[in-house]
Symmetry: C2
Subunit: 392 residues, 2 copies
């Protein structure tokens, strides 16, 4: 009488969380400083000072019944208005409070968006390499999960493969920009081309194909890279945002969904997402964090720490002979496995307490994901190990 699909998911687990748990257990044995845990995207810079001081101020000066009480399921209306206004200022759009739904982070947002866009026989496409949790989100919604193979070595979109896979049953494509696990940024030209293709296919099939834009890394870009704001190019987009990375609050579960009213059937889509979230037990986003957001939504992360890690690793690893995708965003390097076998390399690295996720777990064998959201000291002390590893 137990659901076997759920059992498989709960037994096999999220391989990222599993490797991170392993890292924590190793740290307890050999000491935290001796584990080079590049497994998980847990921000290594603290939440901005204003976040900390705002949380303290709210706790010290506001009525706890209000602070910790239920908000509207969509989120506190004032906070939603502030989030909408912040989007207007960042991207020159015209978002409004009623187009925003505050949620417990991007994960349940993407799951709810998938559910809302699942009709009989629906197919949802992702671009490899992809965040592995998309598969359970799509499948729990009842849709078919289709993978567009990677565009190697540029890690933009493989349009010929997309054109082959897109079909009348396609209801949505998930775009994760900047990309996890690659750290690549889909350029404006790529999104323009995707938009044109979806426009053409929507017309051909007689129904709209939506973009689900999973954007927790939107503010994490380096050098000259620019992340296009997809609704400005293709309005038929559900933006799933999280403050996990930009405000360094991954454990607090705070984000929002933005469905532009300009999207085809945009209001219905907003309400369908609300309904889908409700059926999965969404009551409201954590209330203290919602209140904090009313004063902190405008913040930008200080990227200097990540950027130093990124440049240090990129230069050293390249000098040892590693190849990698151009790392423009998020806090990931996507390394080519020197032997070609990512699982073997990951296992070999694990023996030196260097934790790297195999690309196979993201639908892209032959690569490894390295999360450089760690201390600079960890980066520097890991370099000799990477040099040993490529020699072995």
């Amino acid at each position: 009488m137990i659901n076997q699909a759920a059992l498989a998911l709960g037994t096999k687990r999220n391989t990222i969380m599993e490797l991170a748990d392993y890292g924590r257990s190793r740290a307890a044995i050999v000491g935290k400083e001796n584990v080079f845990d590049f497994s998980i995207g847990n921000p290594s810079i603290p939440a901005p000072e204003l976040v900390q001081s705002t949380l303290l101020d709210i706790l010290q000066n506001m009525d706890p019944i209000t602070v910790h009480g239920y908000t509207s399921t969509m989120g506190d209306p004032k906070v939603r208005a502030i989030v909408a206004q912040d989007l207007c200022e960042r991207f020159g759009c015209d978002s409004k409070a009623e187009e925003i739904l505050l949620c417990c982070g991007a994960a349940p947002e993407v799951a709810a968006a998938c559910k809302a866009l699942t009709t009989e026989g629906a197919e949802i496409l992702v671009f490899a390499p992809y965040f592995p949790e998309y598969k359970p989100y799509v499948e729990q919604a009842g849709a078919i999960f289709r993978i567009v193979p990677a565009d190697i070595p540029d890690f933009q979109i493989n349009f010929s493969a997309l054109e082959e896979l897109i079909c009348p049953n396609t209801t949505a494509v998930i775009v994760n920009n900047p990309n996890n696990p690659v750290g690549a940024v889909y350029s404006e030209a790529t999104i323009q081309k995707l938009s044109a293709l979806l426009e053409r296919k929507s017309e051909e099939f007689g129904h709209r194909i939506y973009i689900i834009a999973d954007e927790p890394y939107r503010e994490l870009v380096y050098g000259d890279a620019k992340v296009p704001f997809i609704p400005n190019i293709y309005p038929h987009t559900v933006v799933c945002y999280s403050y996990s990375k930009s405000l360094s609050l991954p454990g607090e579960r705070l984000g929002y969904i933005y469905v532009p009213s300009a999207a085809e059937n945009g209001r219905d889509l907003y309400h369908a997402i609300l309904g889908a979230a409700r059926a999965m037990g969404h009551v409201c986003a954590p209330s203290l964090m919602q209140l904090m957001l009313s004063r902190c939504a405008h913040l930008h992360p200080d990227l200097s720490v990540y950027d130093r890690n990124r440049r240090t690793l990129m230069e050293a690893l390249t000098s040892y002979g590693y190849e990698m995708a151009k790392p423009e965003g998020a806090f990931y390097l996507f390394l080519k496995a020197p032997s070609g076998d990512d699982r073997a390399f990951s296992a070999m690295a694990m023996e030196k307490d260097v934790l790297l996720m195999p690309g196979s777990d993201f639908g892209c064998p032959g690569y490894l994901r390295l999360c450089y959201c760690v201390s600079y000291d960890t980066v520097v002390r890991s370099l000799p190990l990477f040099e040993e590893l490529i020699k072995e």
Copy 2:
């Protein structure tokens, strides 16, 4: 291309949240003190002082990267051990950390438990009157939602109706004790009788029928009433707990699932729930709140405020001629609609800015739910309105 069931849920909305939103909008017009909002179970006593001081202490003295970082999906292992230990002390059971899963409140817990117990053709039973969100939780899981009619006027379990409805497809029954919306407590004798019936039927059908025990009100009981701890009677039970009511933190989304290993296939069931939660986007319970719990799990709520409201309302309303279920737990009165028509009475009350949920929304027409988790002043000033209402 939009999921119509999700759209219906998102458009129609949770009627409780809708009435509560209406209350907030009326308060903005006529003043908060002029709205007698008995619509929603938002605790009216502040979180205990230790919760507040612990939150401040964590924010002021711990590393923010740790405080706000991801925890294990199951929850911080130390916090789970403390929760398990607290259960042992409260109920003399032998719960362990690995049987605990920290979650974002009881709503996603019940949704995940329903999913984990849904196989092809599964039916899940609830007892009227029931919390209306059970229906979307059961249906999103893919199971059939069956309602066992109310046991009027005692509001225990209608066993003859249960015996008629239970069938080989039944995988679980949801028990909400103390009950929302009634405020009744299922007695030990009732749970013993339920246990015996489920034991007999499990044997007859050749598979286990589980109890999903939704227990956010477990610590809210008055007078001599005792809430039996169901796993001590029937180990094949998934306990879904929330700190929303006992610690007055409904907006913060914090609770746990407890699956005793003594439950049939208990470990598989635990993992299936974990997998189901993962597929719905569960990443971890809010991390700051998890840490708070490590010092506050042992607290008991101060019930004196609710108890005064309860007794004041009970006495006054009875003297005006209202009839109600015996209110032993939670913070609800379940009033018989004087005219017999609960929707008409609720509409009439709304004209006086007295907000009461119709029992029809809980599968029990002819009654009204009154949440007495409001200020004593609201209670006292509402009394003349209740007197007017019954006269009309």
